[in-house]
Subunit: 258 residues, 2 copies
Amino acid sequence: MNKLFVMGMGPGDLGLVAPNATKALAVCSDWVAYGYYLDLLGELSAGKTFHDLPLGEEIGRARLALDLAAQGKNTALISSGDIGIYAMATLVFELLDMQLQGKENHPEWLGVDIEVIPGISAMQAGASRVGAMLGHDFCTISLSDLLTPWETIDKRLHACGAGDFVVSFYNPVSKKRDWQLNHARDVLLQYRPASTPVMIGRQLTRPEEEITFTTLGELDAKDVDMFTMVSVGNSDTKHIVNGEKHWMYTPRGYSKKL
Amino acid sequence: MNKLFVMGMGPGDLGLVAPNATKALAVCSDWVAYGYYLDLLGELSAGKTFHDLPLGEEIGRARLALDLAAQGKNTALISSGDIGIYAMATLVFELLDMQLQGKENHPEWLGVDIEVIPGISAMQAGASRVGAMLGHDFCTISLSDLLTPWETIDKRLHACGAGDFVVSFYNPVSKKRDWQLNHARDVLLQYRPASTPVMIGRQLTRPEEEITFTTLGELDAKDVDMFTMVSVGNSDTKHIVNGEKHWMYTPRGYSKKL
């Protein structure tokens, strides 16, 4: 009763969805998500009530999920990837916080029993498909300046460069945003070589998956779309070729001991 | 044949293990892991040959896994969390790289069919248990200077501070390392307030789980052990209290639209 599961369904392959998430879906009468993810979950969805709000209506989805749970319906708020990473989970707590501050008028939300279930994020799917890109210290940066001032993003790009972190770019481009990724590349080129390995992973773990092994110098926003994860190695990341098989990995430093 | 699955089993709760990982375990005759993780997998392990090498013998485990697979045995190299994040996956590719460079004498390794399966990492388990700490740009830093020079770690701590990233500390302390976490705290205090929310999560998702909600100013290595994940918020991260329930979340900036 009054249960809200906030859950990430991973990058696309249902074989990467946590059993805890699948179990939670089964006990929920109402699923709230962007339609594309509902499609992915096809076989699990018989008999459920869908609330399919379009991209861009994130706040509406979070409100609806809290409302449904407050009405006593077991509810699942669903995203791809890990819902805690650049996704809807934080918005649920932002709304709860507004209510606690008296800036919303939904005291019933405070009685909702919230449980967050993590999922495999796109950076992990990409890193595993190419080998082990996240083998050492890394960061993530969203290149979307819809909600974050560009100055903040730019500051983080420079910090990433100065710290020599492996970096995964979320929201690298969109129909309306095409210059940020090339700017990010140019910032990183101030700190690491043009030969630094870069993975471009499109539709990761899905039937239409395409993976491109390239370099920081060759990275170009024209090769990237909204379904793409871009991960840039640090100054130690290696691109190796074994016959027809390519791999990228970031060493932790064991070679000193080998 | 000659298949090596390199897989992460998540933080501990078997309900967070990807079905792809469970399926791969079933088709492997030989499992290579540190014993603690083999124990976690109890019910899945009937009829398997275990190769239980102790902590500290990471290189031996990676070599053994490559050797077994090269001998034609379907083999699973297993770690907790995501094996691609500060774990064994990168070491497999480091060994393969050494062979490709002619610095090893195991040409049979080049015929091994390697597949990496990602898992839920401790930072994700922690973030989800307290709400949504990883809701915006974040980084991870290992505080172990066994393989990484301390100067590199210190540089990354400053970069993390300058970039105002949420940060998760892997390997925060060990029996022999007790000062690094307090040093990391002191570096971050140069960049963000002492009131910054901090999560200390011990034995996350396991029966003995303990979660402490504290602040950067109060963070102390004496409260942390080898089974603990420490995540420090950015300057926007909030700690909210709803009755007896505590949450921490890092907003993406939707509040401007609320």
